[in-house]
């Protein structure tokens, strides 16, 4: 089987090209998304407008109008993929996403549906400060009717994007800066990867480490440290935050008896709390230690490099937490 070495965004680009070629109902829209404007902020849409013409449209800086147009077109049978340049800008379109895209199927008694994908870039570590870097997956995961996907590997970026486009319901697809700089081989015929299924990155027996997106990359940077500490860590990339793969996480937690959850989102009221609560409800008495969470402090993403480094959960923090679970 032939493979191609690619970055995460190239995985997205490959998925968009494939989906648009396979299904003429797939549309792409967003700020700067057409080729003359650069194919989106990361270039994930490069080549699409040249190849697919009017099905790819650059838009004004109007997030409500972008998501609204995607919703309406989806209700009329299209499969729009909207780029909201940065995740913080989804806040401007929250009414469209939360009150409409997520709810119209239910509120119409199943008569209408909104199969859209919202691609959005985020992630701390690039000194973009408090309005360009938030991980808001917990906000969206709290809403009924919307799926939340946050891959870490180039293959998953491609396969999960293909699944989001095919999915009959709205999906938020989080592209985190921390995942974008480690290329890896992707099968040329990489197809859709099912939503709601976690990936076990490394098997282990002592501690289950649940991560996704950028923190799965940082967890992989900590693997050597775990080994040096003599701890066998089972690293899980959750991949889909909502609906999340309870089966895989609970099976691993039952096996190891110790769980650490690490996400880039703020720790308090973050997705880790939901996962920890579920593990406690299902496995109380079988755990060897309380479930631990690592996340950002409840503070806006800071600008100064020293502050930003302290804000982000680092591989060393994971190593310390894993050691703590073992003691």
């Amino acid at each position: 089987m032939s493979t191609t070495k690619m970055h995460a965004i190239q995985g997205v680009n490959a998925a968009l090209h494939q989906a648009m070629a396979e299904d003429e109902k797939v549309l792409v829209l967003g700020e700067d998304i057409a080729d003359p404007e650069g194919g989106g902020i990361t270039g994930a849409a490069q080549g699409l407008s040249t190849k697919f013409g009017d099905r790819v449209r650059s838009t004004p800086i109007s997030e409500q109008a972008i998501v609204g147009a995607a919703i309406g077109a989806a209700m009329a049978g299209y499969k729009p993929v909207a780029e909201i340049m940065l995740m913080n800008f989804t806040t401007v379109a929250m009414d469209m996403i939360f009150n409409h895209a997520a709810k119209l199927r239910f509120m119409s008694g199943g008569q209408t549906s909104v199969p859209i994908v919202i691609r959005t870039l985020t992630g701390a570590g690039w000194q973009t400060a408090g309005q360009h870097a938030d991980h808001l997956e917990g906000w969206f995961a709290h809403a009924a009717g919307i799926k939340v996907v946050a891959p870490s590997s180039p293959a998953d970026y491609k396969g999960l994007m293909l699944s989001c486009i095919q999915d009959p319901d709205p999906c938020i697809f989080i592209e985190s800066a921390g995942t974008m700089f480690i290329p890896s081989e992707v099968d040329d015929d990489q197809g859709p990867i099912p939503l709601g299924k976690a990936r076990i990155v490394q098997e282990g027996t002592d501690v289950t480490l649940v991560t996704w997106s950028s923190q799965c990359i940082r967890a992989q940077m900590a693997l050597e440290g775990f080994a040096e500490a003599g701890v066998s860590v089972e690293l899980i990339d959750l991949r889909t935050i909502s609906p999340w793969d309870r089966e895989t996480v609970l099976a691993s937690a039952q096996k190891t008896g110790r769980v650490l959850i690490a996400h880039e989102a703020v720790r308090d009221f973050g997705p880790g709390a939901e996962i920890a609560a579920t593990i406690n409800e299902e496995l109380f008495g079988k755990l060897k230690a309380p479930v631990r969470r690592l996340g950002a402090p409840k503070c806006p993403v800071p600008f100064a490099k020293a502050l930003e480094d302290a804000y982000i959960v680092q591989p060393a923090d994971m190593i310390a937490a894993v050691k703590g679970l073992m003691s």
Partner: protein, 331 residues
């Protein structure tokens, strides 16, 4: 009532059709009010009594293929578009035979078969979604048009401006229809809007805009005909500000103390329904007997719909797991 000479003119058939739609709205509204007052329906109700000419005239030009996005005061818009009344009544009663299985209710009625695509409870949100439906029509190469209904208050929310700009930019087949009923909840138009006419805002978004007497079927007819022709021809959107008044205030139970004394009484003197009826009779478009028979038929339809809706079963709690996603959620 004006009858400008060079504008599109309604013939007798059109006038009677517009009147029929107005009566359908008003008789249905009356039945909802009386059912609520008897304590048999529990729902927040935003009557549009007094605004009937606007959706009746717009709907005269629409087919089932054409689509509307409307708002919480939008029952009149779907009744005008000939949405069947039985599922409407079952929905406002919160029953299983409701068009949304009782999950949406009066503020969120949806009926794609007759083009009722979205009814939103969020001010301004009908417009960005109408754009998307219109974008689909454009991509399909279809002649269908989309109506975005919204109130005067919605012209001050961001969604209006974003949606108008995109529609103008992409020349979408959408008509923005604003019944300006002079009040945004309890705040008068003048206290909430920096311009004297909402239609002036169309200039900023590259589309024609008109302020018209929304209680005058002739003036409405001429402007709607032109706007729909323009949209079907691929020439882009139009903003129609249709001046009118809501006789029941914001929501049922509104004491309307925020209105200057005499304003409501004066507006009621301009009630479009009896005025238009008299015009039809005076000009020989219909006879008393014809209009009486029409009204009776509509009353029978409304009564049957009410009976059907109130007799429908209440939904089971299992419905909470259905229609959240396409795939039913596990218990």
């Amino acid at each position: 009532m004006s009858e400008a000479s060079n504008a599109p003119q309604p013939d007798t058939k059109a006038l009677v059709d517009i009147y029929r739609r107005m009566v359908r709205i008003e008789r249905n509204d009356d039945a909802i009010l009386s059912t609520i007052r008897k304590g048999r329906l529990q729902m927040p109700y935003y009557s549009a009594r007094g605004q009937e000419v606007i959706p009746a005239t717009v709907s005269h030009f629409l087919t089932d293929e054409d689509q509307i996005c409307t708002i919480y005061r939008g029952i009149q818009d779907m009744v005008a578009k000939d949405m069947p009344l039985k599922p409407l009544w079952a929905e406002i009663a919160g029953r299983v035979d409701g068009t949304c299985k009782g999950k949406g209710g009066p503020m969120h009625l949806t009926h794609p078969e007759t083009g009722v695509m979205v009814t939103t409870g969020i001010v301004g949100s009908s417009m960005p979604i109408a754009n998307g439906l219109a974008w689909a029509a454009q991509l399909d190469g279809s002649k269908r048009v989309v109506i975005a209904y919204f109130g005067d208050g919605a012209s001050n929310i961001g969604a209006f401006h974003e949606a108008m700009n995109l529609a103008g930019l992409w020349k979408l087949p959408v008509i923005f229809v604003c019944p300006n009923n002079r009040y945004a909840e309890h705040t008068s138009f003048e206290k909430g809007t920096a311009v004297d006419k909402i239609s002036k805002r169309a200039v900023g978004y590259g589309m024609p805009g008109f302020t018209i007497d929304g209680n005058d079927p002739f003036e409405m007819y001429a402007h709607v005909a032109t706007a729909i022709d323009r949209a079907r021809a691929g020439e882009g959107p139009t903003l129609l500000e249709c001046n009118t008044f809501r006789f029941m205030g914001h929501v049922l139970g509104d004491d309307m103390k925020y209105m200057p004394e005499g304003e409501l009484a004066k507006a009621k003197e301009n009630d479009p329904l009896p005025a238009f009826r008299q015009k039809l009779l005076d000009d020989g478009h219909a006879t008393e007997a014809q209009l009486e028979e029409m009204t009776q038929q509509i009353e029978q339809e409304v009564a049957a719909a009410r009976e059907f809706g109130m007799a429908s079963e209440v939904p089971s709690a299992d419905e909470l797991r259905r229609d959240v996603f396409e795939q039913e959620m596990s218990a």
